[in-house]
């Protein structure tokens, strides 16, 4: 066991450390050309802030990829969802498992990471108003990510990697799968480097004076966690890749799972950081909200960085090999301190919204501010639904299922699937959708297409996801397993049927799935329509 870990660390951290060292050397010798070329900037009519024009095409390219992968993941979601419902049972078994693998990768990796890269460039160039340094490197990052993701998609769709998103060994994909993932990750690493270099240059050139704005601070926390996450990813993907080529024997499954979730869970914390940054920024853009206490909000972000990266064991609570004391400590002090951070934001974000709306004069009674909030502004409504979905549906259930004893009755059942659709879909994806409604006008100076469809889009997507996520958790309590083609066990040696109430649950799920898929599809139409829109923001 020890031998594996040591060689894995050397193989993975060695090249990474080399890249890191070389980039430090490069940063030392890097002489920025003079920057203050005013023709590269314009003033945004929405925010009144400087926007770096050349970064626009890069943001646009990354957004294109994000939306295309969202569409691909959505198609897969349709196939997966309506195969799970025994009444429809759409796809045959192999295709179902393939679609499920593709769905996980397209959504959780490609849509989210592409969008996050666009969001990183957006905050640094359109909110801070810095010039995007190392723009060529940013395009190289784009190319690497594009190449990597296409290789992964082709490998999965041709049936060479039916191993699910988690790719637990001894299940083995074709080596090209790991190639693709690694190249994509290197691209993401370069994008993070561009973000930091841009920020360093902006400090040096006095574009940033004083503390970072809270939204950008949150983004930076996310990027910091990204670096740690990518290192974890390299530690297990690199040896697994060698193993897939036959150059490496004996992958230890427990070590793999431990490091996989150090990567997998931290990557969710990147999403959380950036999602909360979106909540703050959308609040300011739509209703002029102001963070309550900068100290508190920033401390919460630091708690994320410090604690979540090592809290991978709540995925392994019913696994052998790790002792209960270790599991309890890892889940308790590491995860729950990050939970505390989420609890802080759970007060700070809605409270800032309420104060901003009360300042507008909606002060009658307890809830006038809520009644008169701009619910027809898609960015605002999406952001509010995202707060409800993440906190009340995804977050709180995650914390309870992550208790050792409760995990026995929820591990790998649909409770988990419901939980993470609450966090990642109702939470992160919806927050990113809400941010899109401001990102495209601010960074690209394009108006949002189909404005009347945009008004209802969050109201289809958000409640749809929340409905099916809650129902999945409910019927998951009766033991419905995740990632399963046939819960009627028609081909199995022994037959069993679940509590009949689950068939009612499936009908409610189907309503939620339909709403979410229509909402997601409308978002793709609106978003791509806006990217193609000729109409400029006044």
């Amino acid at each position: 066991m020890g031998g594996y870990v040591e060689s894995a660390v050397w193989l993975a951290y060695g090249p990474m450390a080399l890249v890191f060292f070389l980039s430090l050397v490069a940063a030392f010798y890097y002489k920025p050309k003079w920057v203050g070329d005013p023709s590269e900037f314009r003033v945004c009519s929405i925010t009144g802030m400087k926007v770096h024009i050349p970064a626009g095409s890069l943001i646009k390219a990354n957004l294109w990829m994000a939306f295309l992968f969202l569409a691909l993941g959505g198609v897969m979601a349709f196939g997966v969802a309506f195969t799970r419902w025994p009444v429809v049972h759409l796809l045959p078994d192999t295709l179902f498992y393939r679609a499920l693998t593709m769905h996980g990768l397209a959504m959780l990796v490609f849509w989210i990471v592409w969008f996050e890269v666009a969001l990183m460039y957006f905050t640094i160039t359109s909110i801070i108003g810095a010039r995007l340094a190392a723009i060529r490197t940013a395009w190289i990052a784009f190319g690497l990510m594009l190449g990597g993701s296409l290789v992964v998609v082709l490998t999965v769709l041709t049936g060479n990697a039916d191993i699910m998103f988690t790719s637990y060994p001894p299940l083995m994909a074709h080596q090209w799968y790991y190639w693709g993932i690694l190249v994509f990750a290197v691209g993401a690493f370069f994008a993070c480097a561009v973000y930091y270099v841009t920020m360093a240059v902006a400090f040096r050139e006095k574009v940033i004076t004083g503390s970072l704005p809270l939204g950008v601070y949150g983004m930076s926390a996310g990027v910091t966690i990204t670096l740690l996450t990518l290192f974890h990813g390299a530690v297990f993907y690199f040896p697994t890749w060698l193993w897939s080529m036959g150059l490496f024997q004996n992958i230890d499954v427990v070590i793999y799972r431990l490091i996989f979730w150090a990567f997998g869970h931290s990557s969710q914390q990147i999403n959380v950081c950036m999602m909360i940054a979106c909540w703050y920024m959308v609040g300011t853009l739509s209703i002029g909200s102001k963070p309550l206490n900068e100290k508190l909000c920033r401390t919460a972000y630091v708690l994320y960085i410090l604690f979540i990266c090592i809290a991978s064991e709540h995925h392994l609570l019913v696994d052998p090999a790790i002792s209960p004391a270790h599991k309890a400590f890892n889940t308790g002090y590491f995860m729950h301190m990050a939970v505390l951070a989420s609890m802080i934001h759970a007060l700070a974000v809605p409270a800032s919204y309420e104060i901003a709306l009360r300042k507008k004069g909606y002060t009658q009674g307890l809830f006038e501010w809520l009644k008169k909030a701009p619910w027809s502004n898609p960015a605002f409504s999406a952001s509010c639904l995202s707060i409800v979905g993440f906190g009340w549906v995804g977050g709180i259930t995650g914390v309870t299922f992550g208790t050792e004893q409760l995990n026995i009755i929820s591990h790998n059942t649909w409770r988990m699937t419901g939980h993470f659709h609450g966090t990642v879909v109702a939470g992160t994806s919806l927050a990113f959708m809400s941010m899109t409604y401001y990102m495209i006008p601010i960074a690209l100076k394009k108006e949002i297409a189909f404005p009347s469809l945009a008004k209802i889009q969050p109201w289809l997507f958000g409640p749809g996801v929340i409905l099916f996520a809650v129902t999945m958790m409910f019927i998951g309590g009766f033991g419905i397993p995740r990632r399963h083609w046939d819960i009627t066990f028609s081909e199995a040696a022994f037959s069993f049927s679940f509590n009949p109430i689950v068939s009612v649950g499936f009908i409610i799920c189907a309503i939620g799935w339909t709403m979410a898929i229509i909402g997601g599809l409308s978002f793709v139409v609106i978003a791509i329509g806006s990217l193609l829109n000729d109409k400029e923001v006044e």
């Binding site: 300011t284 100290k295 209960p324 050792e404 009766f478 033991g479």
Partner: protein, 175 residues
């Protein structure tokens, strides 16, 4: 405002409401942390704590020996095993795509159920009680269990293990 540089000195004390909220949240986090070791000391449904290493070949040989010694019949082509009253150690293995053997257990008796996998990662999910424990190749997980209700239990696999994952089932009888 979250888009603009904050004023120079933003390190300010919290308001009373914020203080109350953070205190409540902190206490809640401590409670859910505390509940885990507390349940290990006083609860009756904890994740098992004992593991030993056993390669898939070693473990498979143990299970085959166990089946050969205690086999009483077959059901749907799978060996049915009933141990003598004095035997405490029983075995189950997840192989693509079957849980073996079918176990016949006595109500109220304490067993050490050894759980592992013969090939890929499997998830042992006992229904309808909904108890889920992982079976990982290379590790023998010692589950201390006392079946307290008579009846027929059904095992499914809830960790994706390959193309026939949905066909993987098993059975436990308690009488």
């Amino acid at each position: 405002m979250s888009l603009y540089t904050p004023e120079k000195h933003w390190w300010k004390p919290m308001d009373r409401e914020e203080m109350i909220w953070v205190t409540i949240a902190f206490i809640w986090c401590q409670l859910i942390t505390f509940i885990m070791p507390f349940s290990h000391a006083y609860g009756k449904h904890n994740p098992p704590a004992v593991t030993s290493k056993a390669s898939t070949a070693e473990y498979g040989a143990k299970v085959d020996k166990f089946i050969a010694e205690n086999k009483t019949g077959e059901e749907a082509g799978v060996a049915v095993v009933e141990v003598k009253p004095e035997v405490k150690e029983i075995y189950i293995v997840g192989r693509s795509y079957q849980w073996e053997p079918v176990l016949k257990l006595q109500q109220g008796k304490e067993y050490i159920l050894h759980l592992s996998s013969g090939d890929y990662e499997h998830g042992m999910s006992i229904q309808p009680m909904n108890m889920n424990i992982m079976a990982l190749p290379g590790y023998d997980y010692h589950l201390r269990i006392t079946p307290d209700q008579a009846g027929e239990y059904f095992i499914i696999c809830n960790e994706f293990c390959g193309a026939g994952h949905h066909m993987m089932t098993g059975k436990i009888y308690v009488s």
